[in-house]
Amino acid sequence: MEILLQQIINGLVQGSIYALVALGYTMVYGILGLINFAHGEVVMVGAMLVLSSLTAMLGWGVPPVLALPISVMLAITGCMALGYGIERIAYRPLRHAPRLAPLITAIGVSIVLQNLAMMIWGRDYHSFPQLFANTTHSFGGAVINDIQIIIFVMAVAIMAGLMVVVHHTRLGRAMRAIAENQHAAQLMGVDVNRVISITFMLGSAMAAVAGLMVSANYGLAHYYMGFLLGLKAFTAAVLGGIGNLRGAMLGGLLLGLIESLGAGYIGDLSGGFFGSNYQDVFAFLVLIAVLVFRPSGLLGERLAERA
């Protein structure tokens, strides 16, 4: 029972990170009908930027209270610029090209980012500095630490903020209009290119925060971390119904739970044949299962919900 509770906590924390990244996929998909393959790498860049600026500032003697927000802002700015650049260079010129073309440039962008990151930050794992005493709270036999609580609360707050933006601002209305019908939106005076750029930047900002969360949660960052994370977040987006914001959040949390419960129990279920090193397989199985049984995802693709 304690194990169950523990796995649920871990799953929700991990899932809230997936949800943040999945939102990036789903927003772009909703607007452009395009899978932004490079999104996972933006998360990685975010994590790396936070880490290196944080480490540098701590080294100069800047107090953590100041260093953390500054480095997060730096990472967010950097990732937003990156997201903007990716869209401008790799996707915009191909907006009317056959579908295969932007998929291939997206792969190209991921590879370039990954290898640039490897050149800049090396092949080694970078450890996340200890900023404060990470107190562990226990209840019902399970434990949760401060970092996990912060991650979850922050993720929920950001998602709530995004919903407000999409549903109650001019920008959000423009985004929904483009998702509905790009051409008509343009005729109605919406600056389509600008809104698309902003969408990429918003998604990238969330990716930067997610990068921070992942590296804080595991205490590690690595140039290759974006690939699998991106794949899983995409799965989460598909699970919830790609193009649907609420779906991405739901899908993220669910996938986190499935993974953590699956990894916790796979040993027992398979009589010890498979171990927790198969954790990464679950996301993939979920993806296949969704595509077979309910390709529109759990929440379908309600048009009004698309952003």
Partner: protein
């Protein structure tokens, strides 16, 4: 010795016939026939020339280039003809390679000492079709759920599949040692043709054929076979249906093409070709490990297809040769150049290579979507000059 050389000449006679059969179609009139014999002679002499000019290690590199050509041509059926993006193609190569590694090595003695005290040693020529079928089966299993959906899903699922296969290969060493984990499987039986192992130096008519040369001829024969299959498919009812799907799936189905089945067929044929190449690879190397089947290898093969020219056989071969030789060139030029300039290696050739690949994918799609060597008659699917084809995708749904 005489029996051996007889065998050898028979073998190469067979090979020449096969090659001839294929080239005759391409070079049918008289002048072209001369061209064919010149090309064939050049190809047959290639390992010797390479050996003499660059050394034995380069013959090995050329052998690997041949393997890459086979892989790229297999992927070309999927991406170039049917327009399906397969990002985990190397997984099928891995499946084929492990098929032969398991059934042609002492390894299984570790897992099942009672059943196979000496491991399993099936003949290569039995394993080869088996490997193709197993890989094709995986292809169908993977393609069936995804191919009725939009193309991007296939891309992601294949990407995931490539990763999953690697996870399994890495971890299936316990509790039963099936794959030997990250260490990989070694002491794989060499390929033998007509009872003669290709892993040994042969003397034929007084000419010395080292193992790498023999494998070169084997790979040449298989490459010719893949080219033959690709060409025949391209100019057939099936090939036309694939291209119709690539051009406009809705219109294709309205013309009576069962798009799902034909896409599945393309996907399975690509997978089979990958599986067969994998078995060849395992026999040639004598060793396989999960490391050889990373995502980057899939990307590299895709790059070969895109760079050379999707859907165009000559282009794809060109792309494969270019990219297979690139890392060697980088290693021989970039490293010494950096040493000379900075006194140390700042950028290792491996990451420089990947960086170049990534950039190439982007630049090609933006500026030269038909590839470096587009086919003469047409600039296919990604023809840059006309956005019209895509804008119409939406109108049937209005």
């Amino acid at each position: 010795m005489s029996r051996r050389s007889l065998c050898g000449s028979l073998r190469f006679g067979l090979l020449a016939t096969l090659l001839r059969g294929f080239f005759v179609m391409q070079f049918s009139d008289k002048r072209n026939r001369l061209k064919f014999w010149l090309v064939l002679a050049a190809l047959l002499l290639l390992p010797f020339i390479t050996d003499a000019l660059l050394g034995r290690s380069w013959v090995r590199i050329v052998d690997f280039a041949m393997l890459y050509i086979m892989l790229a041509l297999g992927l070309n059926i999927v991406v170039g003809y049917a327009g399906l993006l397969d990002l985990g193609y190397i997984a099928f190569f891995a499946v084929g390679a492990y098929c032969y590694a398991l059934t042609g090595s002492p390894h299984l003695a570790l897992a099942f000492p009672m059943m196979f005290p000496a491991g399993v040693h099936l003949p290569f020529w039995i394993v080869l079709p088996m490997a193709a079928l197993v890989a094709g089966g995986f292809g169908v299993l993977l393609g069936a759920p995804t191919l009725r959906l939009r193309g991007d899903y296939l891309a992601i699922v294949t990407l995931g599949f490539g990763e999953i296969i690697r996870i399994f290969l890495n971890n299936l060493d316990a509790p039963v040692n099936l794959t030997n984990g990250p260490q990989g499987i070694s002491r794989i039986d060499p390929v033998s043709v007509a009872g003669v192992s290709l892993n040994s130096t042969q003397h034929i008519f007084g000419i010395v054929f080292p193992a790498v040369h023999l494998y070169f001829y084997l790979f040449l024969a298989f490459t010719a076979l893949v080219v033959f299959v690709s060409r025949r498919l391209e100019r057939s009812r099936i090939g036309r249906a694939w291209m119709a799907i690539r051009e406009d799936e809705v219109a294709a189905s309205a013309m009576g093409i069962d798009t799902r089945n034909l896409k599945l067929l393309a996907f399975a044929m690509g997978a089979m070709s990958g599986g067969a190449s994998g078995a060849l690879f395992a026999g040639f190397q004598g060793f396989v490990s999960p490391e050889s089947f990373s995502l980057m290898e899939s990307v590299m093969v895709l790059c070969m297809v895109v760079l050379g020219g999707m859907g165009n056989i000559a282009g794809v071969i060109f792309g494969a040769i270019l990219l297979a030789l690139l890392p060697e060139v980088l290693r021989h030029i970039v490293v010494p150049a950096q040493q000379a300039l900075f006194g140390r290696t700042l950028v290792d050739p491996e990451s420089l290579r990947m960086l170049l690949f990534g950039t190439a994918l982007i630049v090609m799609m933006l500026y030269r979507p038909a590839g470096l060597l587009p086919s003469r008659v047409r600039r296919r699917e990604l023809g840059a000059d006309e956005p019209a084809a895509e804008t119409s995708v939406y109108d049937a749904t209005h």
